[in-house]
């Protein structure tokens, strides 16, 4: 072996070349690594500067009392802001937590059920179905703020829908003026604007489900429900995971739509956690508290997303085996 190698090397005159290139090669490797680093630098600077460092600031401010005025400096108060969130002495924050939880839980359940059901109906590519997809999806290309204003104009006490109800049945529904009804109106409007996104995800997911497997199940005598339960649904597992996480993340941060629809009212009945951060704490110069609330939301969003993905790992792996 060695003899052959050296013989080969000799005929190709490799050893002298190697000797000459050894050092430059190493230099080139170091240079290459530096260049690699340099190429990621612009993205890193912007991302770290305006996303990562702000998270650091948020964590720091969350332990301070700070009104945001440049001439004053943050005063260290330890866990005060967090205990304030949990004990809620003024009785203003827990209702926002509840509102956000309702939006996130009820909203993501209905959004995903509706989107999956419609995806099954709109699965085939026909003209009618393309029209259906466009119609279900279009609210998403509108700004959430505009969606809020639009529904506010439709459902307000003087709005179009109450005007019609008044003319036909002689009574109105307090869509936005009764605290409980207003919360459900908000949930409904958010669902109306959101489910189109998940619909598109499910339609895309359905296209990856093996048609042969479905056909085979059908030939073996499975009815539609059985085919869905034992073939389609397991194969959709990764799509369901993505759709659930994306819907949850966008529902947790609902703010613009609230601003347009109810501006948090009546009272604080429709104030979400994001509304609490931006329009209550930050607007009243309570930067420390706003940052503690922001940190809490980021932690909740991250924990929820990662635990859903961890819990779904087995189902996702099963789907890979199916495809």
């Amino acid at each position: 072996m060695t003899a052959v190698d050296s013989a080969r090397g000799a005929t190709r005159a490799v050893p002298p070349v190697r000797a000459r290139e050894r050092r430059p090669a190493r230099w080139r490797r170091v240079g290459g690594q530096l260049l690699n680093g340099a190429l990621t630098l612009p993205a890193l600077i912007i991302y770290v500067g305006l996303m990562v460092i702000p998270v650091g600031y948020a964590v720091y401010y969350s332990f301070t009392r700070y009104n945001g005025i440049p001439s004053q400096s943050p005063e260290w108060v330890g866990l005060d802001n967090y205990t304030r969130i949990f004990s809620d002495p003024a009785g203003e924050m827990h209702s926002s937590l509840l509102v956000t939880a309702v939006i996130a839980i009820v909203g993501s359940l209905i959004v995903n059920a509706l989107a999956l059901g419609l995806a099954l109906l709109l699965q085939k590519k026909t003209r009618f179905n393309t029209f259906g997809r466009v119609v279900m999806f279009y609210p998403h290309v509108l700004s959430a703020l505009i969606v809020g204003f639009l529904w506010q104009a439709l459902l307000g006490p003087q709005g179009a829908i109450n005007g019609l109800l008044n003319a036909s049945v002689g009574s109105t529904v307090p869509f936005l003026s009764n605290p409980t009804v207003a919360l459900w109106t908000l949930v409904g409007v958010i669902i109306w604007a959101q489910f189109g996104v998940q619909l598109i995800l499910y339609i895309a997911g359905l296209q990856t489900v093996s048609a042969e497997l479905q056909e085979a199940a059908r030939i073996d005598g499975a009815n539609r429900t059985q085919v869905f339960r034992h073939v389609t649904w397991p194969a959709l597992a990764p799509t369901f995971t993505i759709a659930l996480v994306t819907s949850l993340l966008s529902l947790l941060k609902a703010y613009d739509v609230v601003l347009g629809l109810t501006n948090g009212g009546p009272g604080d009945a429709t104030q979400t956690w994001a509304y609490e951060i931006l329009a209550v704490s930050f607007a009243n110069n309570r930067v420390g508290l706003a940052c503690a609330q922001a940190v809490l939301l980021i932690v909740i969003a991250a924990v929820l997303s990662f635990s859903i993905m961890a819990m779904r790992r087995r189902a996702d792996a099963g789907a890979e085996a199916l495809s």
Binding site: I46, Y47, Y57, V135, S143, A144, L145, I200, I277, S305
Partner: protein, 280 residues
């Protein structure tokens, strides 16, 4: 068999039609009421009487000083283009390095970026304001563009690196052996091959920049002379929200172009969203 299939298809069409109407009625009410005075809007919101229809309120909304329509459109378009330019220009080389360098270091770098996808932009905005103040970019357009780009980079970079991994290595290696510099390989060989995924990123980032309200409102300030479509609508509508002569025409002016773009490019936009999610 054939009969049950026909019935089930009829049910399917019926269900979808009812839902489609529920989706479209708000839009219909918005459009027709933009041409009516307040009294008529309140009395008969579902019909449009051609003899009394007027573009008077639309003209008033067009000339509104709170929501300068043409300027807002131009400014929003500028933001969309600038944010896409910045986020794509910095993400392509970074994604190339991440996708093409073996080893754990750049794997960790990718995870570090991906973590940003779980941080809601409007939530991190409060502390970002203090960072922008510290570097003197608060209240400026570059500050806004950099922040919005920063929120787009995690997703853009993630789908780019996934896409570059699928491109054959031999192409860029051959160019490298021929003596092309790495930057040249990235921009003249790899980047042209990335067209589909760049288009996907562009569409999704454009939608989020177009519809962003909180970032321009807080970074530029509510009194800024630069209005986006969303901050303009907010300024024009929020204090007159029961004056439907203002609300409907303003909203109509704000949504018509984006809806037209969406209907023309619907296949492209919706498949872009699906690609983005599959890669995510």
């Amino acid at each position: 068999m054939n009969k049950t299939r026909r019935t089930s298809n009829a049910i399917r069409v019926a269900v979808l039609s009812v839902l489609a109407i529920a989706m479209l009625v708000p839009l219909y009410i918005l459009v027709i009421n933009a041409f009516k005075p307040q009294q008529e809007i309140l009395l008969s919101p579902l019909t449009l009487d051609p003899s009394t229809a007027t573009t008077e309120f639309l003209e008033a909304a067009w000339n509104s000083t709170q929501f300068p329509v043409v300027d807002s459109y131009l400014f929003t378009l500028l933001l969309v283009l600038a944010c896409n330019l910045v986020s794509i220009a910095v993400s392509v080389p970074a994604a190339y390095v991440i996708a093409r360098t073996p080893g754990i270091v750049f794997g960790i770098v990718l995870m570090f970026f991906v973590a940003g996808m779980f941080i809601p932009a409007q939530i991190i905005l409060v502390p970002t304001i203090f960072v922008l103040k510290a570097v003197g970019l608060m209240g400026t357009i570059p500050g806004l563009v950099f922040f919005m780009s920063a929120t787009m980079i995690p997703f853009t970079l993630f789908i780019f690196s996934g896409y570059i991994r699928m491109l054959p290595r031999t192409l860029d290696e051959a160019a490298m052996i021929d003596g092309a510099s790495r930057l040249r390989v990235i921009w003249t060989i790899v980047f042209p091959l990335m067209k589909p995924i760049v288009a996907t990123a562009f569409v999704l980032n454009a939608l989020s920049a177009w519809n962003d309200f909180v970032s321009p409102q807080l970074i530029l300030g509510p009194g800024s002379q630069h209005k986006t479509i969303t901050t303009g609508v907010y300024a024009a509508v929020s204090s007159y929200s029961t004056n439907y002569e203002v609300v409907f025409p303003t909203l109509l002016l704000a949504i018509t172009p984006i809806l037209v773009i969406f209907v023309v490019m619907q296949r492209f936009i919706m498949s872009g969203l699906a690609t983005g999610a599959v890669k995510g």
